[in-house]
Amino acid sequence: MTEAVTRRTAMLGAAATSGALLFAGGNARAQAKPTELRVGITTFLSGPASVFGVPAKQAAELLFEEINKAGGIGGIPVRAFFVDEAPGTDHLVGEYRRLVQNEGCQIILASISSGSCLACTPLSDEMKKTTLLWDCGTQRIFEEGPHPYAFRTQGYGTPEVLAPLLYLLKHKPDFRTLAVINQDYAWGRDSWELWKAGMDAMKPGVRVVAEMFPRFGATDYSTEVTRLLAARPDVILSTSWGGDLTTLIRQSTERRLFERSLFVMPIAEASLPTLGRTMPAGHIIGARGDHWNNHPSPKDPARLKRLVDSYRAKYNEYPIYPVHHMAQAISAMQAAYAKAIAAKGAGGWPNDLELSNAFRGLTFDTPTSTITLREDGQGLEDQIVGLSSFNDKFPFSVPKDMILFPAAMVSTPVGQKSTDWLKTLKPDFVSQVPAPMAG
């Protein structure tokens, strides 16, 4: 018995050591063309934010399958390694290391949560691993310091708040009172700070009658709705999302709050399929980008249709914005690899530095538009905002009277802080807002 145990232990030890040596070997060779392109993807697979994370994962699986059918990237197949963001940053930064050092991922697509992005980006600097911030929105990332290996392939908080604000100033210029009801966490606070800075600069004198930050994940908004009914604000802003927003909208419609006040909901798009016909019409809705299902003039209509149709066929639901953000990150990745491989010549494979250089200033196509990555790494994504409405093509609310805000117009210039820049805006900035899109 004693001997058996010893032998088993010894064999286990030997197996562990040889496994370790294998891993070490895997790390040593980096520059040669690999047999597969490994992509680490961090996303929410559990918890409240999985309403975004799971569709994004599905989109990545769908698109990787498509890419591999078409011969992969640079002739080699792509493979995704998914990581759940839900356990928190101490777990996530460990997982980031695992993806890079153990799985040998050549590129990381990081994070829905801004906290996760803030933790992963400095790690990308230290480990010199190209990291695409595929969904998080915090303006702090590139405004607080340079990150040579990090790129954000979509818009971020500032344009996503400023575009609906400009739409409101155009649509209902005479509003005098406003209330805010945001989730009580970083985005809820950040987005209100951005909105307030922009609103006070462009339309001074608006009275804020209520500032409410109900608990993240709250299921009952009756107190807040009562207060809003009593305060009768002209406009109610809510940057809430997911289950919180769905609940807020349902409880507010039941008590006819939508009939008294105009709602502005910059992240409504992801909740609209769930709400179906219960979403009230005539309120301002945003999508964290320009990728609406009923985009009147997408750049590549066939590609948009293919993405929507194949996603619907496979998962039996309409794609929401995280699907598009994932698709954008993957498009950027394809474009950057093509660029880097072309620069290297036939048979070459870019190293980490060459890959990140390929991303700087990169312009890539999305189904609806093109996105350029600025010199600081921030992507310039156009924003489309509209009024909720119904038509017979979709079983849920879609925008009408859409206005396309060019990204350069609503993004903070390189090197400036968002709140400082927003404070410099003048009331006549509204006159630069383009006319609604046709169709």
Binding site: V5, S46, V100, G115, A186
Partner: protein, 310 residues
């Protein structure tokens, strides 16, 4: 006792070997050791039959101390004692009235206080950046700023040294009259009082010591992950610590480290194998431990070792 020492040495060597052979595990193991130190504190309270469902607050205090002070004093050797000191002070203040309560009240009051700290960290947005958390500036060790690779080894070394140090301290403490008295609180408190020992004082001492270790654990976690969020003080984090204590077993000062290593490794490998169902695996492991090995990992190992000797 000799076997325990042997096991500790073998364990430490295995950790070093693992960290050397598999670079990315070094990070995971450092976090495991840091959490192990914090769980040692839970173990002390478990000896007295008390479960703290809010112990993560001391971790958070240690971690946020590092986050707030690091920009002005980025010295690991100063930050660690400072974090420990603040956590100890908080432990003393809270402990003074918490030790009047027992069982569910003790657990719930700890939970309530930790949630107060969580809310403060989350709501004082202008100071703490809320749920996005604070990035910890680059740290120096004895005045030298280090490369990432070296820094990781240094943190691992500090965590291992402190783990061994606190392990020995806890072992000595549990063997001392003060430590023995903890078991008295669990069985029958009045007996202690008859002997002229103040049960409150005994528990307060254990509580403050556990707060100290929580602070050190938190400081180590924050120095390793280099980013702190209020999540550290959330009740699920406290639950995690209790989970680790149960997984490791309360029989020995080695238990918390066995538990923490097992917990982090199971979580990491479960997350790697099935990214969207790792919670189920973790829960399954805990259920198996509760059902079949109530003494935890330590219980399994010590019975194996005893079986060998017999």
């Amino acid at each position: 006792m000799k076997r325990e020492t042997l096991l500790a040495i073998v364990g430490a060597l295995a950790l070093i070997l693992c960290a050397w052979a598999i670079p990315w595990l070094k990070f995971v193991l450092t976090v495991a050791l840091a959490k192990g130190i914090a769980v040692l504190g839970i173990l002390l309270l478990l000896r007295a039959g008390q479960v703290s469902f809010g112990h993560a607050m001391f971790l958070a205090v240690g971690a946020y101390t590092v986050a707030f002070v690091a920009p002005s004093v980025p010295e690991v050797l100063l930050l660690l004692p400072l974090a420990a000191l603040l956590a100890t002070a908080l432990g003393l203040v809270i402990g003074l009235f918490l030790v009047r309560y027992r069982d569910i009240f003790f657990g719930m009051l700890n939970l309530a206080l930790s949630m107060v700290i969580y809310s403060l960290l989350e709501k004082m947005y202008a100071i703490t950046h809320g749920t996005d958390g604070i990035r910890i500036a680059a740290l120096t060790f004895a005045g030298v700023s280090l490369e990432r690779e070296v820094q990781e080894w240094v943190m691992f070394g500090i965590a291992l040294t402190l783990a061994i140090g606190f392990g020995l301290l806890v072992r000595a403490y549990l063997g001392s009259p003060m430590g023995r008295a903890l078991a008295g609180i669990k069985t029958r408190e009045t007996r202690l009082e008859f002997m002229g020992v103040s049960a409150r004082l005994v528990l307060l001492f254990a509580y403050v010591l556990s707060a100290l270790m929580g602070g050190v654990g938190g400081a180590l976690v924050s120095m390793t992950t280099r980013h702190v969020t209020p999540q550290l003080a959330y009740w699920t984090s406290s639950g995690e610590l209790v989970f680790i204590a149960i997984l490791g077993g309360a029989g020995s000062a080695l238990g918390p480290f066995l538990g923490a290593t097992a917990f982090e490794l199971v979580r990491v490998y479960a997350a790697a194998a099935v990214a969207d169902a790792w919670q189920m695996i973790l829960g399954g492991v805990l259920l198996l431990v509760i059902l079949f090995a109530p003494g935890g990992v330590w219980g399994i190992l010590s019975s194996k070792l005893k079986g060998r000797g017999a």
